[in-house]
C-alpha cells in the first residue's frame, strides 16, 4: 500500500538535482514539467559526467593504445556493464547500444526478422503499440510477405488476452512484440504471463520497454524475455542513445544490421568476417559520451532504488487520477489506477487537445497533445488527439495541482 502523504525519497533534494526545473516557463509562471514520457529531464550528475568525460578522457574507443583511448574504452564498456546490471542481463555481450528504442526495434526487424520471417509466418503486435513497434514490421512485411496480427485493446484500455491466446493457438507465430507500459493509457501489460505463453507456442518475445525501464525494475532473466528495447533519453540519460538487450544465443545467430568499422573481425575486398558480440551490432564510432551519461543515469536511478521510483510515481498518478476525475467535461483514457503507471491521458469536452496544451503552456504547465505516436490506438479510442500529463521522479502533488488549476482556467476561457 502506498501512503499518499509520504514520498519515498526527499523530493526537494531530487528537484535540486534537475536544474532545468528551476525556471519560469513564462514571466511569473513556474515551469511545471509534465512531459517526461516524451523525454525526461537530466540530473546534473548526468550532465556533469558527460562534460567531465569530454574535459578529461575523450578519445575514440577500442584498440587505441594510449591513455585517453584506454580511459574512453573503460568508460564506454563500464557504462555497458552498469546497464547490464540495471536490467540484470547475464552478460555484457547481450547489451547492444543503438540510437533509441526505435532503432533497437529496427535492428531486430532488419537482422533477425529479415533472416527468419517469410510467407506464412505471423508476427503478433498490439493495437496499443507506439509507431516504432509497428512501422518497422509493416515495412518488413511488405518485403518478406509475412502476416502481422494485432492484439485488440479492450474497453478498459487493456490487451485482449483471449485474442492473444487465440493467435498463439491458431497461427504460426514466430515473434510477439508488445510494449510493457503504454505511453498513452499507462496500462502495464502482463508480460510475464504473455512471455510464458509465447514460449510455450514456440515464439520469441520482444518487449518495447521505452516506458517501463525508466519507471520500474525490469529483470530480463526473471522475465525470460528474448529482446528488450529502451531509450536513454526517457530515463534521465542523454539523447542519442538506446539499448537493445538480446539473449546471447539469439544475437549470436543473427546477421549484422549495419556494416562498417568495429563490427568486423577481418575485411578483404572479397568479403568480411564479423566481430564478437556486442560489437557485431555496433558499426562505426559509437555514442561514447552518451553511454557514459546513461551509466550515470543508471547510477542515479539505482541510488534512488527502482522500487522507490515506482512507489513515488504511484502516489503522483493516484493523486492525478483523483483530482482530474473531479473536473467537469474531462474524460480519462486507460485502466484504473492500480493497473497503470506514469501517465494520465485525457480530453476536455470538445476542446482540441492542442488548444488544451497551448492554454496549459500559458500557465507554465508543459504537457503533450496529439496522437503520441500511437495513431492506431487513437483510431480505436475514436479521438484524433489526446492530452497527456506524464510524471517522473521529480514531480510533486503541487505539479498536479498546477495542472488541474490550469485546466479550470482553460474551461473558463472556452466558457463551459
Amino acid at each position: 500500500m502506498t501512503d499518499h502523504n509520504t514520498y519515498p525519497f526527499d523530493i526537494a533534494r531530487i528537484r535540486a538535482d534537475f536544474p532545468i526545473l528551476d525556471q519560469e516557463a513564462h514571466p511569473g509562471k513556474r515551469l511545471v514539467f509534465l512531459d517526461s514520457a516524451a523525454s525526461s529531464q537530466k540530473p546534473r550528475q548526468v550532465i556533469d559526467a558527460m562534460a567531465a568525460y569530454y574535459t578529461r578522457d575523450h578519445a575514440n574507443v577500442h584498440r587505441g593504445i594510449h591513455v585517453l583511448s584506454e580511459r574512453a574504452t573503460d568508460a564506454y564498456e563500464g557504462a555497458r556493464e552498469k546497464i547490464r546490471a540495471f536490467v540484470n542481463a547475464r552478460s555484457h555481450r547481450e547489451i547492444v547500444f543503438t540510437r533509441n528504442t526505435t532503432e533497437s526495434v529496427n535492428l531486430v526487424a532488419g537482422s533477425w526478422g529479415r533472416a527468419n520471417l517469410g510467407p506464412g509466418d505471423v508476427v503478433v503486435l498490439s493495437a496499443m503499440e507506439h509507431h516504432s513497434n509497428i512501422v518497422p514490421w509493416q515495412i518488413l512485411a511488405a518485403e518478406r510477405g509475412f502476416t502481422i496480427r494485432y492484439i485488440p485493446v479492450t474497453g478498459t484500455g487493456e490487451l485482449d488476452l483471449d485474442a492473444y491466446a487465440g493467435f498463439l493457438r491458431d497461427d504460426p507465430v514466430k515473434l510477439v512484440s508488445v510494449l510493457h507500459v503504454s505511453n498513452v493509457l499507462g496500462t502495464v501489460n502482463p508480460v510475464t504471463e504473455m512471455i510464458r505463453d509465447a514460449h510455450a507456442a514456440g515464439a520469441l518475445f520482444m518487449i518495447d520497454g521505452a516506458q517501463s525501464v525508466p519507471h520500474l525494475a525490469v529483470d530480463v532473466q526473471a522475465l525470460d524475455v528474448d529482446f528488450l528495447a529502451f531509450s536513454s533519453h526517457k530515463m534521465a540519460g542523454p539523447t542519442g542513445l538506446g539499448v537493445l538487450y538480446g539473449k546471447r544465443a539469439i544475437l549470436e545467430a543473427m546477421p549484422p544490421y549495419m556494416g562498417g568499422g568495429e563490427m568486423i573481425r577481418r575485411v578483404t575486398l572479397e568479403g568480411s568476417q564479423w566481430n564478437d558480440l556486442p560489437h557485431k551490432f555496433e558499426a562505426g564510432t559509437p555514442a561514447i559520451a552518451e553511454a557514459v551519461g546513461l551509466g550515470a543515469a543508471v547510477d542515479y536511478l539505482g541510488a534512488l532504488g527502482m522500487d522507490n521510483v515506482l512507489a513515488h510515481e504511484r502516489i503522483i498518478v493516484e493523486y492525478a487520477m483523483d483530482r482530474l476525475a473531479e473536473v467537469p467535461g474531462l474524460t480519462i483514457y486507460g485502466p484504473d489506477t492500480d493497473r497503470r503507471n506514469g501517465v494520465t491521458t485525457f480530453t476536455l469536452k470538445d476542446i482540441h487537445a492542442h488548444d488544451v496544451a497551448q492554454l496549459l503552456d500559458a500557465e507554465g504547465v508543459a504537457i503533450r497533445a496529439g496522437h503520441h505516436c500511437a495513431m492506431p490506438l487513437h483510431q480505436h479510442l475514436g479521438v484524433p488527439a489526446t492530452a497527456r500529463a506524464s510524471f517522473y521522479v521529480y514531480n510533486t502533488k503541487a505539479d498536479v495541482d498546477a495542472l488541474v488549476e490550469a485546466i479550470y482556467n482553460a474551461r473558463k476561457l472556452f466558457r463551459f
Binding site: H352, A353, H354, D355, Q358, L359, A362, G370, P384, F414
Partner: protein, 132 residues
C-alpha cells in the same frame, strides 16, 4: 494567453461560411494534417470576372485551424483569383493577429494550403515559402 484572443475563440466556436460543399464548385479541395487530426474541405464559386462569389468549408480541428479557415473564408469573398494568388502566409497571420510557434503554424496554415492546392494545383506547397 495571447493566442486565444476573443475573436479567435469566436471564429473557432462560431465558424463563418461553415457548411456542406457547394455544388457546382469552381474550387473543390480537401486536405488534412494527420498529426492533429485536422481536416478541411473547401469549396468556392466564382463569378464571371473570376471573383469569389461564395465559399463553404467544413472540417474539424483545433481552434487555431478552425478560426483560420473561418477568417480566410470571409477574406476570400470578393477577391479575384489573382488577388488570392498573392495572398500569402504573412497576410493570413496578419488576419489572425497572433504569433505562432512552428508547430501551431501548421494548424493555421492548413486552410491556406487547401486554398492554394485547390486553386492552383500546388499540391506540394508545404507552407514553408521561404525555402526554395
Amino acid at each position: 494567453m495571447d493566442l486565444y484572443l476573443d475573436n479567435i475563440i469566436d471564429h473557432g466556436q462560431n465558424p463563418r461560411n461553415f457548411g456542406p460543399p457547394l455544388d457546382p464548385a469552381d474550387i473543390d479541395y480537401a486536405d488534412d494534417n494527420p498529426f492533429c487530426g485536422d481536416h478541411l474541405h473547401l469549396t468556392v464559386q466564382l463569378d464571371d470576372e473570376e471573383r469569389v462569389k461564395a465559399v463553404s468549408w467544413e472540417g474539424q480541428g483545433c481552434t487555431i485551424s478552425q478560426a483560420s479557415a473561418s477568417m480566410l473564408g470571409e477574406e476570400m469573398i470578393g477577391k479575384t483569383l489573382d488577388e488570392l494568388k498573392h495572398f500569402d502566409k504573412e497576410d493570413l497571420l496578419d488576419l489572425l493577429g497572433i504569433q505562432l510557434s512552428p508547430t501551431r503554424l501548421k494548424c493555421a496554415l492548413l486552410s491556406l494550403k487547401v486554398l492554394k492546392a485547390g486553386a492552383y494545383g500546388l499540391h506540394t506547397w508545404t507552407g514553408d515559402e521561404s525555402e526554395e
